[in-house]
Each structure stands twice: as structure tokens, then as C-alpha cells.
């Protein structure tokens, strides 16, 4: 294995992973009530296909995708649908969103789906369609429906599949534990995805601070004996696991700002997504559970749990020994990009990779804000090579032309600039506030341009028709005159 590759920019952060990786993954008890938010993936909300009072089996589909960019939902427990109503949702920071609530009957009766012995027997298109039925979404955090991602790159030649095991955010260790304990699943999933995409090679990337995961993966690769797959180490520099950053580090190519990875012949999936694909295809298990890291000084026993989707977060905390008195904040995701939850009643969703029960020690309090001193630390760490200080100036004045020029839309909100700012300016927050304004402006401009074009082509068409009509009239008159004479 060669030395670790890295992309430009980024930060070396304290990983905080040792607490949660001491114990092996434990299986959390199925919840008494599972709450499944209908919009827990990117794209459009799913549509319920069960009614209140209906009995469902574990793994039975309960909501179907509404559009092409949407995903199936499956029952994570067997029992009765008791409500379809707004419930606190983790993807809304704890605010209520329409959810299906299932009461557990304790039987775990399974809804049987066929398991595919030999996935290579299926045609790639057929396999892609089959994967779509599993309700799998990007488990790294973005939650983009996997089937839509596969469709976006289908039929492209010489595609490289990138399996993202670079878990760069502090505190999160679910992918590392997955690779340590279920490496074979990851490798199988990668091979299935390769077949579905007709990819020519597959790179599995993981950070150089996870030697045990690396050994496990290497062993699994050897067992699989598939030459097309290889392992690559990336330097543990946040945000190494960002899709665009990882592609730049591994392939030395940048994704065009207005394009997708497929445009440079790459498709990126998270390791957990690959494992979920493997479970579905090989065992017929849809996405009804995932590994969640429970950590932070605010919880008694930090560890990784294999959790049913829809389990209330409060229950997971209980399984980890409950809160310690030091708890101050509850985060879903890591400390850099994670969202603060207002309540622990919210349930685990498909993209919940980590719950940080944070104490004051985990969170460095922000000092009062000073004016920017243009030190340039932010530009040095920006993985998108932006000048955050200039963006900040333009965001303060809401100068849309300036924001466009300095590339606000290319900001990935990783928080590196915010982290290093000596003036303690909440840059990411400012950028997030300014983005909708700029997006609306750009949309309006594009719409006006399109409307203008259509208006002009319509005018031109009408003029052409009128001219043609006049010409035809002339012709007829001439003919009539000739007949007369």
C-alpha cells in the first residue's frame, strides 16, 4: 500500500474516536415504537402505502418513492401501524415532520424477500432496479437515494467506483467499526455496485488513522480475490471524506463545479451504503437498520450500536448508560457539520451516523466576534479553495455579484474556515444565510433569460408566419390575376 494521499486544504482535527471504538458493535434492542419520517432522504418525500391499523412485518415496504429522486421505506419492526402524523424528526433538528409510527409486537416476523445467490447472473440494469427496491440512500450523511445515483452514472464507460471509508468528521466511528467487523459485506457490496455500474475499477479509500479497519479490509479483499478492487489510504485531514475532496485526493481530478462525479468517470458511495447493498442483494434484507456511533462526554458508555431505523434517540442513550450530568448539547453527525437536535425524542433516520451527547468539554465555546483581520487562515484551510473572508465581506453587504464572483455556491459548509478564524466569526452560518438569496437571484436571472429567449423566438416565429402568409396571399392573387387574363 502506498503512502496516504491528500487533497489541498483542510484541517488536522482531534479525531475523538478512541472512546467509541473500544467495544465491538452491539445490537440495540428493537424499539417499542418505531417512528419513520417520510422525508428522511434527499429529494422528494416518500408516499405511505400502509394505513393506520394495518399489520406489517419486519422488512415490509411501508412507503413508496414519489418521484425518481425518492426512496422506499420499510418497516424496521413487526407490528401495527398506529399513526401517520407529524413527529419530532431528526432531519429537521427535532421539529415535527410527517412520519409513520409502528408499534412493536415483539415477534420480529420477517417479510421474506428473495436473496440473490449470484448477482453476476443479473443484467446490470436489472440489478440497479433491484437495488432500488431496498430503500438504500447514501448512508454517509447526504442521504441521496442510491438508485438515483446509480442511474445518473449508468451506461457510462470506464467508470471508477470509489467506496468512501474516509470518516473524517471528529467523533464518528461507525464506518470504521463497520470496516473492522463487517469488511466482507463492504467488499461484496462494492463488487455488486461495480457490476451494476459496469465499472472498470473500484477504489476503497480510508483514512490513515484507522489501521485495524485497514487490516480487516485488506484481509477481506484478499478473501474476495477480485483484482479490480484496491485499497487506498488518505491522510486524516478533515474533510478528506467529502465526496469532491476524496475524488481529488484519490484520482487527482476535480469534479466540475457545475457537474457530477460521473462527468469525470467516478461514482462515489459510502462503505455503509455498499454494505447495505450487499445485505439486500445477498440476504434480501432491505435498509431497516444501521450502525450508529453514540459518543461524547455527555453519555456514560460511548460505543457503536446496530440500530433499527426509527428507534428514538433517547432509547439509544439509555442503552449506553444514560446521560452524564455534563451533557449540554445533542448533535446528530459530527461536531463540524452535525446538526444540533432540540429533543432526544427524535428517531434515528437512515442518515444518522452518529449521536454526540456533547459536554462543554467537547464543544469549544465561541468567543465574541471581532471584525475580520484578513489573516487568510480561512483561505488556507478551505477545501474548495475559496476566500471565505471575501465571501464574508460580500455576505455582510449582501453583494450578490461579489458573492457569485467569490464562489459562494461552491462552499461545501465544512466549517474549516469557521474553525480557524481568530476573529471567531460564524462564517458558515453567514454563508448559509446568504446562499438562498444568491440562489434565488441566480434562479431568477436564469428564468428571465429563458423567458426572454422564448419571447424572442416567439416574436420571430410570428413574424415568419406572417411573412409566409403574406407571400402565400401574393401568390394566390397572382394566380387569380393570371386566370383572369
Amino acid at each position: 500500500m502506498q503512502t496516504a494521499v491528500r487533497a489541498r486544504g483542510g484541517l488536522r482535527l482531534e479525531a475523538h474516536k478512541e472512546r467509541s471504538t473500544r467495544d465491538p458493535i452491539a445490537t440495540a434492542a428493537p424499539p417499542a415504537h418505531a417512528v419513520l419520517t417520510l422525508d428522511q432522504h434527499a429529494g422528494e418525500r416518500a408516499v405511505p402505502i400502509v394505513a393506520v391499523g394495518e399489520r406489517v412485518a419486519l422488512g415490509q415496504p411501508i412507503a413508496r418513492p414519489s418521484t425518481l429522486v425518492s426512496a422506499w421505506l420499510h418497516a424496521p419492526i413487526a407490528g401495527e401501524v398506529v399513526a401517520i402524523e407529524p413527529r419530532p424528526a431528526a432531519n429537521h433538528g427535532g421539529a415535527p415532520a410527517l412520519s409513520i409510527v409502528i408499534a412493536n409486537d415483539g415477534s420480529d416476523a420477517r417479510h421474506r424477500e428473495r436473496a440473490i445467490e449470484d448477482f453476476t447472473a443479473l443484467a446490470p440494469a436489472e440489478l440497479r432496479q433491484w437495488i432500488g427496491r431496498a430503500g438504500i440512500v447514501g448512508l454517509g450523511g447526504a442521504g441521496f437515494p442510491t438508485v438515483a445515483k446509480l442511474a445518473s452514472a449508468a451506461e457510462r464507460e470506464h467508470l471508477a467506483l470509489l467506496i468512501n471509508g474516509a470518516e473524517c468528521e471528529p467523533y464518528i466511528s461507525c464506518d470504521e467499526m463497520l470496516m473492522r467487523e463487517r469488511a466482507d459485506e463492504v467488499v461484496l457490496g462494492a463488487r455488486i455496485l461495480m457490476h451494476a455500474l459496469e465499472a472498470r475499477e473500484c477504489v476503497i479509500a480510508l483514512e490513515d488513522n484507522a489501521p485495524q479497519a485497514q487490516q480487516a479490509m485488506q484481509a477481506a479483499l484478499t478473501r474476495a480475490g477480485d483484482e479490480r478492487l484496491r485499497l487506498t489510504q488518505v491522510a486524516a485531514i478533515y474533510p478528506a471524506g467529502g465526496e469532491r475532496q476524496l475524488i481529488a485526493a484519490v484520482f487527482g481530478k476535480e469534479v466540475p463545479h457545475d457537474g457530477l462525479p460521473r462527468d469525470i468517470g467516478v461514482l462515489c458511495h459510502n462503505v455503509a451504503t455498499a454494505a447495505a447493498v450487499a445485505r439486500w442483494v445477498a440476504r434480501g434484507e432491505p435498509l431497516v437498520s444501521r450502525i450508529v456511533t453514540i459518543t461524547g462526554a455527555g453519555v456514560a458508555h460511548a460505543r457503536n450500536l446496530d440500530v433499527r431505523i426509527g428507534t428514538p434517540i433517547a432509547q439509544l442513550i439509555e442503552e449506553c448508560g444514560g446521560y452524564t450530568p455534563r451533557i449540554t448539547r445533542l448533535l446528530m453527525g459530527g461536531t463540524m457539520m452535525g446538526a444540533a437536535l432540540a429533543t432526544d425524542e427524535a428517531a434515528v433516520i437512515k442518515t444518522t451516523n452518529c449521536i454526540v451527547a456533547a459536554s462543554a468539554r467537547d464543544l469549544e465555546p465561541r468567543q465574541p466576534e471581532m471584525p475580520c483581520i484578513r489573516c487568510g487562515n480561512c483561505a488556507e484551510v478551505c477545501p474548495a479553495f475559496l476566500l471565505p473572508q471575501q465571501l464574508h465581506l460580500n455576505a455582510q453587504a449582501l453583494d450578490l455579484a461579489g458573492l457569485e464572483r467569490y464562489g459562494l455556491m461552491d462552499c461545501i459548509e465544512c466549517g474549516c474556515c469557521d474553525y480557524v478564524c481568530p476573529s471567531q466569526i460564524p462564517l458558515v452560518e453567514r454563508f448559509r444565510q446568504a446562499k438562498p438569496h444568491l440562489a434565488a437571484h441566480l434562479r431568477a436571472r436564469a428564468a428571465a433569460q429563458a423567458a426572454r429567449q422564448r419571447y424572442e423566438s416567439r416574436i420571430a416565429r410570428l413574424q415568419r408566419l406572417e411573412a409566409e402568409q403574406r407571400q402565400r396571399l401574393e401568390e394566390k392573387r397572382r394566380l387569380a390575376r393570371r386566370k383572369d387574363s
Binding site: I327, T328, A339, L387
Partner: protein, 347 residues
């Protein structure tokens, strides 16, 4: 259970402007110590005066502008400005010079532009340049360093303070007897008088590298500067580009005519070269912002410094060069916006 929420990121580095400025002040300590060793305790009086004036002016400006006093006074930027200005002044310069220069720097060069983070020009250099063009005689009469063999009067701390405040030397001492030009000044004057380089450098003012005493002050500055680099308070671009372009100019001209132009080592260890490269040009507020921009900005300072030192009317050009390049910074910034990830071209 309910929890308060806050926007991400939920952790930030424990770094503040105040911490950055504190480290800069500590990094100036070697220079200050060397300065006091070679030029007597004048600098201590000047620094105290300058810092007091800077804080008073800052407080006045903040009060007038209705900003929180304690918060901004604590950031240390005014103290750094005051110390840099004091380091540039002759140790026995009269008190009103220090006070007016510092007040000008803080009030006009800093707060008129909007205070910390907004000043287009380096306040310390504005203060110094104003004093230099207004009172050249006072600004150019330095003390000879103690390392010289020539008989110099050792002024005690009390005598120094008295001289600074009253403008009168202790009895039995005359200004002419104790002042001496800076090495850059002396070299320039003597060369202008028609001396050869050897004759000019035969003056006891000059040591192994640059001016005697001065070379040690500059080496102390280098130590402080390297500390700043290692603590990542500043980055290499500005010092390297400025010293590099200065040395390059000096080397070229030295190669052309060693009899008229002193070599690169002399330039690097004379005047405010090192102080400028590590402490003045690196002031982030008035410097260019991207790496490429900083290289251009600092190379410009190096070249202008050399031009002004060699052919201009003033012995040292760092202050003017910094001000001129400060002026060019917005233009440099405009043309050195880095390429954004995923874009083929720079915006």
C-alpha cells in the same frame, strides 16, 4: 429531554485576535532586548509612551464611535502598532514625536478607516512616515550602538527619560557628541560625498554584516520572526518574498558594481529589513490576502525598499515601500483570486 441548539460547526479553535497579537508582542521581545542592550534604555521609555498613547487614542476613538471599550482595547492591535512605531524611532527622540506619531497612526490610519481589520495602510508605518517627512532631523539622529569603541556617553534610565521629556541632555553632553547616523544613512551620505565603498565601510559604525549593534538587533528580530513562522502566526510567503527580492536586487547591483552598491547581506541586516519582513509587511489587514497576492505584494516591498534606499532621498525605504504596496493591495487582491475547486479558470 430538550436541548439548546446552535449552528455548526460546534467546535472552533481556541484562537483569538488577542492571542495572535500577544504572540506577536512576545516575538518582539528579543528585538527589544537587543535594542536596549545596544542603544540604551531609551526604547523602554519610548515604548511605554507609545503604548500609553495608543491605548488612550484607541479608547478615545472607540468612545467617539460608540464601540465597546474593554473588548476592543483588549485585542492588543494598538499595542503592536505602538511597539512597532517605537522600535523605528531614535531612542532619544523627544516625547511629543512619539505621542503625535502614535496618535496619528491610531486615529487617522486606523480608526478613520473603520478600526481593527479595516485599515488599508499599516498604521505604524503611516505614523513613522508622517514623522519622517515632518521631522527628518529628529528621526535620523540615532545613538551610536554601545558596541562601538568610540567614546559614548552611557545614559542612565533616569537621564534618558529626562532627555526624552525635556529635550535637553544632561550637563556636559552635547547632541553632536552623542548622536550618530544609522549605518544606512552614513553609507549613503559618505558615498554621496564621493568616498569609495571601502572608505565608507571603514567607519567604525559598520560591523561584520551590517552596522555594528544593528546586525545583532536584526538577528534578534530574525529569531522572533522565525518563532512567528513556527507558531504559524505568519506564513513564509511575505518574509521570503520581501527578503528575497531585496537580496536579489542587492546581488544584481553588487555584481554590477561592488564599489558603489553594498552586498545583499548588508541590506538584509540593515535598517528595518527584517523587522519589516517579519513584523510589518506581515500585518494581515494591510497585506494581500491570497498566497500569490502575498508573494507579489512582498516582492514589491523588497524592490521598492531597495530603490528608495539606493537612489532615493531617504536612507531607509521600508516604511514608504510598505505604504506604497498597501495602496496596491486591493488591486493585487482583485487579480489574484484563487481558482475555485471544480472551476477551470480563476474568477
Amino acid at each position: 429531554m430538550q436541548f439548546p441548539t446552535s449552528p455548526p460547526p460546534h467546535v472552533v479553535a481556541p484562537n483569538t485576535v488577542g492571542r495572535v497579537m500577544r504572540i506577536v508582542i512576545y516575538a518582539l521581545l528579543p528585538t527589544i532586548v537587543a535594542h536596549v542592550l545596544f542603544f540604551g534604555p531609551g526604547l523602554l521609555v519610548q515604548s511605554a509612551l507609545a503604548v500609553a498613547t495608543a491605548l488612550a487614542a484607541e479608547a478615545l476613538a472607540l468612545r467617539l464611535r460608540g464601540k465597546p471599550l474593554a473588548f476592543y482595547l483588549g485585542d492588543g492591535t494598538a499595542i503592536v502598532t505602538a511597539l512597532l512605531l517605537a522600535l523605528c524611532l531614535p531612542p532619544l527622540a523627544p516625547w511629543w514625536l512619539v505621542v503625535s506619531g502614535t496618535a496619528f497612526a491610531i486615529l487617522l490610519a486606523k480608526h478613520a478607516f473603520g478600526g481593527v481589520g479595516m485599515n488599508l495602510f499599516n498604521p505604524a508605518m503611516v505614523g513613522y512616515a508622517v514623522l519622517l517627512v515632518s521631522f527628518p532631523a529628529q528621526l535620523l539622529s540615532w545613538l551610536p550602538p554601545h558596541a562601538l569603541d568610540i567614546q559614548t556617553a552611557e545614559l542612565s534610565f533616569a537621564q534618558t527619560a529626562a532627555t526624552i521629556f525635556t529635550g535637553r541632555l544632561p550637563e556636559a553632553l552635547a547632541w553632536d557628541a552623542i548622536t550618530s547616523p544609522t549605518p544606512l544613512d552614513a553609507l549613503k551620505t559618505n558615498l554621496a560625498l564621493g568616498m569609495t565603498m571601502q572608505e565608507a565601510l571603514a567607519n567604525p559604525l559598520f560591523g561584520g554584516l551590517g552596522g555594528r549593534g544593528w546586525e545583532w538587533v536584526n538577528l534578534a528580530t530574525l529569531i522572533g520572526g522565525i518563532a512567528l513562522l513556527m507558531l504559524r502566526i505568519i506564513r513564509w510567503h511575505i518574509p521570503v518574498a520581501m527578503l528575497g527580492s531585496l537580496a536579489l536586487c542587492a546581488t544584481i547591483m553588487y555584481a554590477v558594481d561592488p564599489g558603489t552598491y553594498p552586498g545583499p547581506l548588508f541590506h538584509l541586516t540593515s535598517g528595518a529589513s527584517l523587522l519589516g519582513a517579519f513584523f510589518i509587511a506581515t500585518d494581515p489587514v494591510s497585506a494581500a490576502t491570497s498566497d500569490r497576492g502575498r508573494l507579489i505584494y512582498a516582492s514589491g516591498i523588497g524592490v521598492l525598499t531597495y530603490i528608495i534606499r539606493t537612489w532615493g532621498g531617504y536612507p531607509d525605504g521600508v516604511a514608504f515601500a510598505v505604504l506604497l504596496m498597501n495602496f496596491a493591495v486591493p488591486l493585487i487582491d482583485r487579480y489574484t483570486i484563487p481558482r475555485i475547486y471544480g472551476h477551470a479558470e480563476r474568477p
